[in-house]
Amino acid sequence: MAVTRNLDKDKMVVVEGSYSVAHSVKVCKPNVISAYPITPQTHIVEDLSQFMADGEIPNCEYINVESEFSALSALVGASAVGARSYSATTSQGLELMHEVLFNVSGMRFPVVMTVVNRAVSAPINIWNDHQDSISQRDTGWIQLYAEDTQEIADMTAQAFKIAEDKDVLLPAMVCMDGFILSHVYEPVVLLEQDLVDKYLPAYNPEFVLDSKDPKSFGAFADPSTYTEFRFLQEKAMEAALQKIEDAANDFHELFGRYYGGLIDEYETEDAEIIIMAMGSIIGTIKDVIDARRSKGEKVGLLKVRSFRPFPKEAIKKVVKNAKVVVVLDKNISIGLNEGALFTETKSCLYNTKIDVPVVGYMIGHGGRDIPVGTIENIIDEAKGVISSGIKVESQFTDVREELI
């Protein structure tokens, strides 16, 4: 299915990206929101606080906490009593949550959290890259990445539906690029309450914390049972692969907008060069692809929407006939000199019959601008890979040699 935006101009309003997220959360009718402000996420919880003050979110508790550790811990309790639970954070805040992230997913609470992607300290930097959420990839959370403010608004509702599915029951991070999406004003269609009510069923967990029917949650598991808990989490992630597709399709039926499920493709059908990336950089890449296509160059884009679960099969299907795959990462595993999407893409092609060279570029760290020219250079270098093989497998982009 092709991307369909189907935007009704009469319904469009110009709002900040953070507002579009806050509005989506509101119409998803959360029961508990925990909030701890941190740049560039602050506007989301501010907007939600305003909605609360205006009485626009019924049956909801808005909890001010003293740290991000507490923000997520509060939602462990909230989710255990059966509350639809939401928070938002970024960067250092997300890193502080690390221990609780495992608790939430291990206890199978479908908390939804917006991560407004920002670089991590040190050196301190408030601008966008993906190091914060990528560093949490093994915590058992679903991770979805949005391209623009309409998609992040829509993805927020999809995340609740996916996370709360009884075959999944895993928490979800909905990731948007800090400032580039969170602080930009764009025309969007805000989610309609009546349609969201049809789209998103009430959250009715099988077990709830209830003093009248006491139960233990997150009980001790010794070596004789611990393995099985991890196994079941992995199975739930596998189930989420299809549920993410379903959530996108159901959304399309009701709202008329579709951006792909696990992945999206742009001009990939006959593409010799396929670029892979996540987040707001997608728009720039599409512009460059349009220009190259007009010159007859076979360049395409594979946008990854779901990083966890990792869409191995979907990726294989798209890249199998390409001559080179170029992966752009706004993160690095220091000591491996590779970004996570690159490493994992390479890994999923190994032990298969697909023999396509894959090269990686680490790009846009700490909010470094990614101009069209950078993408142009990367495409030109990819052509060199087709003609004469891989010279550099993975590398930093636009390093300012004069500073080092």
Partner: protein
């Protein structure tokens, strides 16, 4: 036993999982010194000190981990910690 995702279970599982085996020192009452002040029962973190009909107390050795708080706090030194030996 079947695992419920999230580790949800009925309460009271610690009654089954006996922890007395963790003990290195075993507390023993000297009822001649005991004044029934109840401090040991109040301060036992387990709780593994149970009241008896005669007003004295006894240890539940299935769950006493031998932490020694009771012996330390007893105002009459009526509890002795004795090394566990096979």
């Amino acid at each position: 036993m079947k695992i419920i995702p999230g580790g949800v279970c009925e309460p009271g599982t610690t009654r089954v999982n006996k922890t007395g085996g963790w003990r290195t020192f075993r507390p023993i009452y000297d009822y001649d010194k005991c004044i029934k002040c109840k401090l040991c029962e109040l301060l036992c973190p387990e709780p593994a000190i149970l009241p008896k009909d005669d007003g004295f107390f006894e240890f539940d050795y299935d769950f006493c981990k031998g932490c020694g708080i009771c012996a330390n706090e007893c105002p009459k030194q009526a509890i002795e910690m004795v090394l566990e030996e096979k």
